[in-house]
């Protein structure tokens, strides 16, 4: 089997899976879902590590390290901020929040 076709098959099937798994999302979850998907593509960090780890060129090394930093920001920041959003939905009623009574006028 032609290797290009294998890759194309994986790609096309992933497109359908990607649409199918989120097709029933309610509008309340649009933002967390976007943010979570955003974090998932931070896995480009994996690619950045592989290319940086195989280079001998100093300029390429610097560029690779920049790519690693950027990808790590995307991945870690993405998952953490998504979790913060979702915490808001699941949190049980904690003891009353400190609401400075009556405004500050």
């Amino acid at each position: 089997m032609n290797e290009g076709v294998v890759w194309l098959t994986i790609f096309i099937l992933s497109v359908f899976v990607g649409i199918e798994v989120i097709s029933k999302v309610s509008s309340t979850l649009h933002t967390p879902l976007m943010s979570g998907a955003n974090a998932i593509h931070g896995v480009i960090l994996l690619g950045a590590i592989i290319v940086t780890g195989s280079t001998d060129n100093n300029v390429a090394l610097v560029v690779g390290l920049i790519a690693i930093v950027l990808a790590a920001v995307n991945m870690v920041g993405g998952f953490v901020v998504t979790d913060r959003m979702l915490q808001m939905f699941t949190r049980k009623k904690t003891p009353k929040a400190p609401s400075n009574a009556g405004g500050s006028a």
Binding site: V15, V25, A37, H41, G53, F89
Partner: protein, 463 residues
């Protein structure tokens, strides 16, 4: 370098975990678990190459870079105010796209260093695609960040000849990509990246502030596709599947969001270029409006039977959610029926307002979505609009030239009384005048939302 079978199998496990993560994220009960599954899979996946690449170089430097990026992302994500979360997501998306473009440039460097003769055409196509779209996503996201952070105007930025310049950059991008595929060289790759940055900037500049979330979602899908392209270039199935999943679901999500606003994506991106959305904000601002004091509003609310609250981004900016919840508690105790009407795009993004109110411990049952409450406005005695504007603007129904025309709105204009809490007569995020402010049954209460709500609360308690 070939990838050992065990590592390939682990990549497959990671791909399945990402599918489960997206599946989880689309249901309210499973969302948090889904996100954690995705995070665990991503972290573990990134350790795999360290175990199968024997002569991995620069390991200490790589680990330092990972630590620096992770710390930056973590601190940023923890510190950001919930109101500023949309621009944070835009920023994270942008750096991801930038990283993908850099990875593709490095791979191109490898290819050209090897002479580049025995490389498959498909690989070069994917490399060009990743460099170009990654740059577009990076520059576009930075502009959306600047718009949301109000580092620049949130209104559409259009200059004469923008369509020509934009079209020219697109043609240049395609031409450079073809050159790169036929005769790979670093010079062409770098120029392609620069043109990609220009395309990204020009793509987002003409988009109005209220539509920016849709653009973030679209750029998110773009970044996903670049990661997929990077996966193909690097022979890495996990990157291919993860990127494709995000690209496909992100595109679909963009269409869903645009649908919730009654807009088409093409209209959002290119509407301003056709003119028509450059409505003057100045013309009507000096028309007479009816304003009242906090005590008057307290009386109106106290003697109403049914009150609907329309919360908007201004509420969150003023950090007035807690005061508002207290006011609602007092009113409910006095037998007034109070609900919150949540527009699908209230706040800065779909679902953003739910997050902001949940943060103030407003019970989930009091938050009613637009479609479920829109028929009840005509029975409401008072509608209290706090820091919202565009989502109740009748121009969306009546003025075909308005940029928000066609967006479904809350029927606040059908209520017996409508009270606006506003800082000033400044128009909303979409930058257009709201006719509802000038209606005879509309009352305005000027001031900082937290401040005025506090006064209304005190006055209501005293009644």
């Amino acid at each position: 370098m070939s990838i050992p079978t065990w590592a390939q199998l682990l990549y497959l496990v990671g791909a399945v975990a990402f599918i489960l993560a997206l599946k989880g994220l689309s249901g309210p009960k499973t969302a948090r678990a889904g996100n954690l599954i995705g995070a665990a899979a991503a972290v573990l996946a990134c350790t795999i190459p360290f175990f199968y690449i024997d002569e991995m170089k620069h390991v200490p430097l790589i680990l330092v870079a990972i630590a620096v990026g992770s710390a930056g992302g973590f601190v940023g994500a923890r510190r950001v105010q919930m109101t500023q979360m949309p621009q944070m997501v835009a920023l994270f998306n942008g750096v991801g796209g930038g990283a993908a473009a850099l990875v593709a440039l490095l791979e191109l460097h490898e290819i050209t260093a090897d002479g580049g003769s025995d490389v498959e055409t498909f690989v070069l196509v994917a490399t060009a695609f990743t460099i170009l779209v990654g740059s577009v996503s990076f520059a576009g996201s930075i502009i959306t960040f600047a718009k949301l952070q109000e580092l620049m105007t949130s209104r559409p930025v259009v200059f004469p000849g923008l369509p020509v310049v934009f079209g020219g950059s697109l043609i240049a991008a395609v031409a450079l990509s073809i050159v790169l595929v036929r005769d790979p060289s670093m010079g062409v790759g770098v120029v392609l990246a620069l043109v990609g940055l220009a395309v990204g900037i020009l793509l987002v500049l003409p988009v109005g502030g209220a539509d920016v979330p849709i653009v973030i979602s679209l750029l998110n899908a773009f970044t996903g596709l670049t990661v997929a392209g990077g996966g193909y270039v690097l022979d890495n199935t996990l990157l291919l599947v993860a990127g494709t999943l995000v690209g496909a679901s992100g595109t679909f999500l963009t269409l869903l969001m645009a649908g919730a606003m009654g807009r088409s994506v093409a209209n959002i991106l290119f509407g301003a270029l056709k003119g028509g959305s450059t409505l003057g904000a100045g013309e009507a601002s000096d028309r007479p409006v009816k304003s009242a004091g906090p005590e008057d509003v307290a009386i109106m609310l106290n003697y109403a039977e049914r009150v609907i609250i329309v919360p908007g981004y201004g509420l969150a900016v003023a950090q007035a959610q807690h005061t508002l919840r207290e006011l609602v508690d007092v009113l409910s105790a006095k037998g007034v029926e109070v609900d919150y009407a949540i527009h699908p795009v209230a706040g800065r993004m779909p679902g953003h307002m739910n997050v902001l109110l949940a943060e103030a411990q407003v019970p989930y049952e009091q938050l009613i979505e637009m479609d479920d409450i829109n028929d009840e406005f005509k029975d409401a005695d008072v509608v209290l609009v706090v820091g919202a504007n565009d989502v109740v603007n009748p121009a969306a129904r009546n003025t075909p030239s308005a940029p928000i025309y066609g967006m479904p709105i809350l029927n606040a204009d059908q209520a017996k009384q409508c009270v606006f809490l506003k800082r000033s007569m400044r128009p909303g995020f979409a930058g257009i005048e709201n006719e509802l402010l000038f209606e005879p049954n509309t009352t305005l209460l000027f001031g900082d939302a937290k401040d005025t709500l506090g006064k209304v609360l005190t006055a209501t308690k005293a009644l």
